[in-house]
Symmetry: C2
Subunit: 399 residues, 2 copies
């Protein structure tokens, strides 16, 4: 019987390999994808696949190109992350197998993207040559080019840089045209997709959509205030909110214009990084009046509300970027100042908010805190980590 | 070489079976779990595992006992559903393999449950013998019994029926004691878990927690109004809101006291089923004053906001339960009356709200609508379907 036994072992080995090619390696066991996420390793051009239940790194996926300012959205089954690189690269990462499923270089220079409400389309916002490209989320085939054409100061047709691209309810995309001072909506339910244009303020440099998908707000580089479009009543056009926001706020050198994804929208109140001040601004979202200015450690970059809106976590601009401050959303008091490491770049709450992950680029470290005790519960090694993105974003409008 | 070839085929067959036992059957391929869900088939004691991207039934899991009023919560990895049966059964269903992972009969008669913020604990609310049982979410081993003891009208110690059990931020559970007129919170971060008691109104019969986890509201069977506890300031105790709500509302025979999970909380406004009226009540959540009464088709049971808060979908009590009405949340107008089938029991929006699934028990049918066009996009056969629960609930407080 010996030869037969040996043959079976050999066959077993072959078939185990067969199983592996179906994705049954150690890293690709059958598992839920609700507690997974990606951490961007900017300098290395790689992403870590993490499990936030176990505080565990499941694998590293390399070869994603230039990941400065990289961001991630997720497929509606929460299996695939779409990573938007700075070099125009769009990479679809399979979190279960920890491999690149597909990758395209879709422009010379891009800045973020979005996935449609129905999960069918992935759109990317481009600086070079401008415009927005829309892809099939399954195949990454190009579905549509939106050149974002306008007439420039010389009266010539040109393509605008696009920024602040988000998804909106009704299967729409919304974005701003930096060079054309406009906000556009694209309706992916009509065929061909219908584009609507709205005049906005000067030089929109970023945008956000409120968590319910109703208000689109663009930050302005060319003037004070922000441009807001009510997507429930777009026929009313764009209005200006927080008229003093921007240059009028400047007193200190501005190290970084705050990203608008660094706004916390909690319970009818917006907590907003002041431009060039060591302050978090608090605005009532009904009247858009400033109701408070909270003095903080440095110039805020990310101001993020915990999922229960109970805490506001704030990160800061260089050179005061080695701490995080936690504010009470009701009393506006600083509850705690934490030191997660050097050059804190991003934070991500677990879906129900019991923990938060914080990246410290120059300490090559992720620190996980319990949001109730504010104690450290885990640290993980990462190469110059920047953005952290969990898969529950698959289920949230505008993320 | 023929015998060798035959042997290899045989071995292949054996090993494919080996793979199957690892979960590699046709129904258990490697896949994301973000777009899965369970549909309760009440009469059959079974649940359907569905894929809401493909409008597809992946499998049926049988043997879950009495599923009247059954509800479901999900593990934090969105792989397992915990099904709370009426007969005290607690069943952990694996959505990837479409099998029962574990099942316990934990009491004689139960009514719903919750999973803790950190995903470690599953709690079940019991009528017989009363109290709450807490289980390890992985093993379903009993971790803790909370007997819900009180002194009854005869001065004797007794156990109360418990209702309205939800999870709250800070890893707490909150529930109401029907017999003891109290609301209790249980802190699962302290050891042993600390119980706090609050006086409530008479005979709380159900409860809800607002989506941010701040306010716990109990409906009252024994008096008008509702009891509300602000979990941010529990030391202030319970206050009464909507003082006319309940018996004072009754004009028609009441076919069903509305479940409180049938409240829509949208943008600072609560849309609430009137008791015994063909009306949806609209209350401002700051003042808790009634701001409108919307006349509708019948006595509302479920009043649910779409994820973008743009629409309010309403189902109705017997005998007017063959339609759904869709209201505009801004204008309060009825936009559309739909007829999904006989005895409409439940609705569930897809996570980003582009579609909604509606169960019609006596038509043995699920109908899927596009929320923008309000057109039917799919129908699925099911045996007397009742509750529909999608896995993105894993990531939402109080669900």
């Amino acid at each position: 019987m010996k030869p037969l036994f040996a043959l079976m072992i050999l066959t077993l080995a072959t078939l185990v390999t067969g199983c592996q090619s179906m994705g049954m390696t150690e890293q690709a066991t059958l598992r839920g994808t609700g507690d997974l996420g990606l951490v961007v390793e900017r300098a290395a051009g790689s992403v870590l696949v993490i499990d936030h239940s176990e505080h565990e790194i499941l694998g590293r996926v390399t070869g994603l190109g230039d990941l400065s300012h990289a961001s991630v959205v997720y497929s509606r089954d929460a299996r695939y992350g779409y990573v938007f690189g700075r070099d125009g690269g769009l990479t679809k990462v399979d979190l279960l197998t920890q491999t690149i499923d597909k990758r395209v270089i879709q422009s010379g220079n891009s800045i973020g993207g979005a996935i449609s409400q129905d999960g069918e389309y992935v759109a990317v916002s481009n600086y070079e040559p401008g415009g927005v490209n829309v892809f099939d989320s399954d195949t990454l085939e190009l579905v549509m080019e939106i050149p974002a054409e306008y007439t420039n100061a010389e009266g010539q047709p040109a393509q605008s840089k696009t920024v602040g691209l988000v998804d909106a309810p009704g299967n729409r995309f919304v974005f701003s045209l930096f060079d054309a001072n406009e906000i556009w909506t694209v309706d992916m339910l009509t065929s061909p997709p219908e584009v609507s244009r709205f005049d906005a303020g000067k030089a929109p440099y970023d945008g956000l959509i409120t968590p319910d998908g109703r208000y689109y707000i663009a930050g302005l580089f060319g003037e004070d205030g922000l441009s807001m479009l009510d997507l429930w009543q777009p026929e009313q056009g764009v209005t200006t909110i927080l008229p003093g926001y921007g240059k009028g706020e400047k007193r200190l050198p501005v190290y970084k214009m705050p990203h608008l994804e660094g706004w916390a929208i909690a319970d009818g109140t917006a907590f907003v990084p002041a431009v060039g001040h060591h302050q978090v601004l608090v605005a009532d979202m009904e009247s858009w009046e400033l109701v408070d200015r909270i003095p903080v450690h440095g110039q805020p970059v990310f101001v993020m509300a915990s999922p229960d809106s109970r805490q506001i976590w704030v990160s800061f601009a260089h050179p005061r970027n080695d701490v995080i401050q936690v504010l009470d959303s009701r009393t506006h008091e600083i509850i705690r100042t934490l030191e997660p490491g050097k050059s804190v770049l991003h934070m991500e709450f677990t879906p129900r908010g019991e923990e938060v992950w914080v990246s410290a680029r120059d300490s090559n470290r992720i620190t996980v805190y319990n949001t109730r005790t504010l104690e450290k519960v885990a640290t993980l090694d990462a190469k110059s980590p920047s953005g952290i993105f969990f898969t529950n974003r698959a289920h949230a409008l505008g993320l």
